[in-house]
Symmetry: C2
Subunit: 231 residues, 2 copies
DNA sequence: ACGACTTTGTGCGTTCGTTCACAAGGGCTT
DNA sequence: AAGCCCTTGTGAACGAACGCACAAAGTCGT
């Protein structure tokens, strides 16, 4: 292991495929888990197995970040953790505002996975005045009227929408107007946003429906096992 | 609108692309919303706008289910809602078991989106004996020991894993052994399952990390706006 | 110092998904 | 009944992603 490594200017090619980006968090988590087990070096085969992906795909994904492996040896875990974290932007602090403190918002505010990975819940906001001032995980719930001020004060650019579907689009417009440029949407509606704003949606019901689709297929094929038969 | 329609034997071609399946819940929801607004007929263009997708993609997706539109007119909303629901398996009852009744499990047990779409929380299970018997959304929390019995009794084939990462794989093995064939996994670990079992994962932290990645890119490009310049 | 061995990084063929653009087909008006 | 207009359904071009298989490149043993 040579001591000094070249520090690349983040994403050499300027364009990392979206599919790769979506897997980087997975690699990061797998690497951290390996490090905690005391592993210092890992091959693409091992890491791929830990992450549950094809090893060639893993190597190609990592190659988009740079040549961080050593042929014949593998990857240095510490070093790779850092590089992936840096590429993902986990080395900086990301204040996040959660809008909607119902059941889901509550759960999100308490979720360790957010706080433990560079994200910090900067503020909780809810439309329900009755909730105002209540503490959730040590943080007070703010009335909706303070939304813009909180975003500006805490320099928030990422918002989590955990509000009902009916108000989600209006809320989103307000968030964008207040300077939010990334939205994680839990409301089951497709949010319209202007160019330059990113939206990712987490749709719990959809996921179950997709499972139900395949489940139905399994049941069908087990009831008619001779569909392909033929003479 | 002709009165009698041909009832296809579900998925004419036998194989619907996975990408299409993943969008069917979205179309279903958009259609239901249109129906509630009193819309009886919708064009691919309109429905695509409501769902936030390209209209050609929508038409191709729907064509995989069958020819349910009328050229020059569009799609009958009621009829299409039914066809999509049938294809997704929403016309049948899907009992679901939720394993892990922490913050997230609590929120899921209370989530309307599940129950309102053919899914029924048949049982709640948690490892923590202190929770046993407690009512969540009117349902008692069962001790982990009763897991297999509950799955058998209620004919459950879909499980939701909302347990900590450390126990997720063991839990999953147990679920599969008990007859579960579809798993919705909220634990941040890639679950290993045998052939024939489907797993979908919802990874809250990953979604934020993906947003952070793009957010970082935005910041970088706004700081160095002349990257592409050249002489 | 050298060769055998290991593992990375990647060129290439294949598969999957998206989008364009238009022919086919149904309804509506005259 | 005939033609116009509208929208579907799809062929075909394009592009993104995957995975094989191998050359390049480094390590380790002798």
């Amino acid at each position: 292991m040579s001591g000094s490594r070249v520090e690349r200017p983040l994403a050499r090619g300027r364009g990392i495929p979206e599919a790769t980006v979506a897997r980087l968090p997975l690699y990061h988590r797998s690497l951290v888990a390996l490090r905690e087990r005391g592993v210092t070096t890992v091959s693409s085969e091992e890491l791929a197995a830990a992450a549950g992906v094809n090893s060639a795909k893993l190597r190609k994904d990592l190659s988009h970040l740079g040549s961080y492996g050593t042929r014949g040896v593998g990857y240095d875990v510490d070093y790779l953790v850092y590089q992936v974290a840096r590429e993902l932007g986990l080395t900086q602090d990301w204040p996040v505002v959660i809008v909607g403190v119902g059941n889901l918002g509550h759960a999100l505010a308490n979720y360790d996975g957010f706080t433990s990975r560079g994200f910090r819940v900067a503020a909780l906001v809810d439309n329900d005045e009755a909730l105002a001032g209540e503490l959730v995980n040590g943080l007070p719930v703010h009335p909706l009227a303070e939304l813009e001020q909180l975003i500006a004060e805490h320099h928030v650019s990422i918002a989590v929408v955990a509000a009902p579907a009916q108000v989600a689009q209006d809320l989103c417009d307000r968030l964008v107007a207040a300077g939010i440029t990334s939205v994680l949407n839990f409301a089951p509606v497709p949010l319209q946003v202007p160019e330059g704003v990113d939206v990712r949606k987490v749709d719990l019901a959809s996921e179950l429906q997709i499972l139900a689709f395949h489940e139905q297929r399994k049941q069908m094929s087990s009831l008619t096992p001779r569909t392909e038969a033929a003479g």
